[in-house]
């Protein structure tokens, strides 16, 4: 068990391109931290710097209180699960799992090795496959072997490099749950790289969002979702993504391409500080006005818009409203789309509606918008002008407490079972 501290880590390649730029993260003992971001954001590089496969150009890396910048990977006592599993094709499953133990010559007796591998295999339901070669295993089984190799020796931390990206969707969900439970049970500090936000949101105690090598925000999933620091984090977290609408303030009214929206005083004040702002609205802040209860209606505003089409998904439905953004905002939105790895941010607003809603494409509809949760962004800097740092911190604090409780419960259950 160990804490890991990244202090101003920088990775520069020969051409001077900084793959990782001044990243500082403190990972507490037993914490599960996710590194997430679009491809090329430096998340894998950062992970490989922690494990020692990439040099650190500058900055310091501490495991517990020891500075490990100059230590070889094998001296860092970390276990890593690679994207392609990195199983040794010439060794059986048993020997693959036993590999790290065999390397520590003399440290483990043969009985010890046998017992540890069997225990790990039982945990991962691999007992029947111990004599097979990795080439004959399914994707999920290979994944388990890779995890087995990580848990068999008591490493100080687990590092995962997109471990589920080669599995199909169903298996991915299942393995996600298994990794989560295993981490809680073992209470081992874990760092997990992914580009999949479902994994990020469900697995992480805290999620670090990276963009072009720079840390944007590190916080609990809920804080990221509800109190993003900037346009990038707001757009990256959440699916369907947050809608961004150019808006100009006139009193308490925000003029937007899809209509005029009455907003609370505080929000209007922030919006009025700039000539033009970007209004961030998550799809679920909208609702079919006819389905909103009286008591709730007062918390928002009702306006009329015409969706081009709707998609019914059973539990909910999506409506799409097109708009023509002003040219100066269009460049900004395109740039954001590029950062987010999308081809082009469609100039449209996605709204989530109740499955019972009768709103259909091509007809004007009354929509209700919950204005309490809107965010206003500065188009020039991308900064979230309405972020409530205190509320965000409280959310992350909650998450920390919950984590502590879960680990304690897992430990208690393990003690009872053992």
């Amino acid at each position: 068990m160990a804490s890991i501290s990244l202090k101003n880590l920088v990775k520069k390649y020969d051409d001077g391109f900084p793959a990782v730029n001044d990243v500082s993260i403190d990972i507490a003992d037993g914490e599960f931290v996710i590194l997430v971001g679009p491809s090329g954001c430096g998340k894998s590089t950062l992970l490989r710097m922690i494990v020692g496969l990439e040099d650190i150009t500058s900055g310091d890396l501490y495991i517990d209180e020891t500075r490990v910048n100059d230590k070889a990977p094998r001296d860092r006592n970390l276990a890593m699960v690679f994207q392609n599993y990195a199983l040794y094709p010439h060794l059986t499953v048993f020997e693959n799992i036993a590999f790290p133990l065999r390397l520590a010559k003399g440290k483990f007796s043969e009985d010890d090795v046998q017992q540890r591998v069997r225990t790990a295999a039982t945990t991962l339901e691999l007992t029947d496959h111990l004599d097979r070669k990795p080439g004959n295993l399914s994707g999920g089984q290979r994944q388990r072997v890779a995890m087995g190799r990580a848990i068999v020796r008591q490493a100080d931390a687990f590092l995962f490099d997109e471990p589920l990206s080669n599995l199909d969707a169903k298996l991915r969900g299942q393995m996600r749950a298994e990794i989560s439970q295993m981490q809680r049970r073992l209470g081992t500090t874990s760092v997990y790289v992914t580009h999949d936000q479902t994994e990020a949101m469900t697995l992480g105690d805290r999620v670090a969002v990276l963009k072009k090598g720079e840390l944007q925000q590190i916080a609990s999933p809920r804080e990221l979702y509800e109190q993003p620091v900037n346009l990038f984090v707001a757009g990256f977290i959440g699916s369907p993504s947050m809608n961004f609408l150019p808006a100009t303030a006139e009193g308490n009214i925000l003029k937007t391409p899809i209509g005029d929206i009455a907003v609370p005083e505080a929000l209007a004040t922030q919006a009025a500080s700039k000539d033009i702002v970007l209004l961030g609205i998550r799809p679920e802040y909208f609702e079919d006005a006819s389905l909103v209860e009286e008591s709730k209606l007062v918390h928002g505003t009702v306006f009329t818009a015409e969706p081009s089409h709707t998609e019914w998904l059973g539990n909910e439905q999506y409506g799409y409203i097109h708009f023509e953004p002003a040219p100066e905002v269009k460049d900004l939105l395109d740039g954001l789309a590029r950062d987010l790895d999308a081809d082009e941010l469609r100039p449209q607003v996605v709204v989530t509606l109740d499955a019972a809603s009768r709103i259909r494409g091509g007809r004007a509809a009354e929509l209700w918008l919950d204005t309490r949760r809107l965010h206003v962004f500065d188009p020039a800097t991308g900064e979230n002008l309405t972020r409530d740092a205190a509320a965000g911190a409280a959310l992350t604090e909650d998450a920390n407490r919950e984590r502590a409780e879960e680990i304690e419960r897992a430990g208690r259950e393990a003690a009872e079972a053992g």
Partner: protein
Amino acid sequence: MKKTTAKTRIIWIVITIVVAVYALFPVFSILATSFKEPSDLSNGKLLPTSWSGVNYEQILVGDAQELFLTSLRNSIGITLIATAIAVVLATLCAYAIARLDFPGKKLVLTTALAVSIFPVISIVTPLFNVWRTIGLYDTWLGLIIPYLSLTLPISIWTLAAFFRQIPWELEQAAQVDGATAWQAFRKAIVPLAAPGVFTTAIIAFFIAWNDFVYGISLTSTEAARPVPAALAFFTGASQFESPTGAISAAAIIVTIPVVLLVLGFQRQIVSGLTQGAVKG
């Protein structure tokens, strides 16, 4: 998938037989010749009237023993040494090409390509002259060096293609698992690279074993003359006896290692040659 019907099975068996006859008949014909007695050679038939080992006797224990066994020893020695040197140099070179980033990588590969299409005979004349001057003419070393021009390029290409396919991240995985750099190489990479190196060695061996031009041009005596060249200078036991039987027997003996290697390592040879040919 389509099911294999009885009809397609039969068609394939016929095709296989045709291909096998095509590929093996000439070998069989010289094999049959090698068992003919001298008086039987002109029987006008494929098979000997009676199978006789007299030709083998002649080259292994009889009059031609000296000539054949010496050249066989030369062939084996020179070919194995040339193969070994080529494989060692090519392994280092291919490792660098597949794994390291250094300027001139492309130059090395292009050079190997250029050398492999070089007309051997264009090199022979100057080598003949130089070797005579510096005393390498008619020596093992005098053949081993030019053999490298035959074996090195294809070894480099084959191995570079092979090494590119090795999942090198295993080396890193092993280091994270607690291995030293050497252990990582030894336990994770060597077991994966060894088959490629071995296959390359077989291919290089075939090529060196096959040489004729250098063999007849750069040797003059039994000191270094390899079998293919010796065969061309074989004469019969007496002036009036044709060497056909003895040559056939000798030809069969030098074909044995080829057949054994092909039988044992068909799969590796095919994949080695096809991988070297198409991008790795």
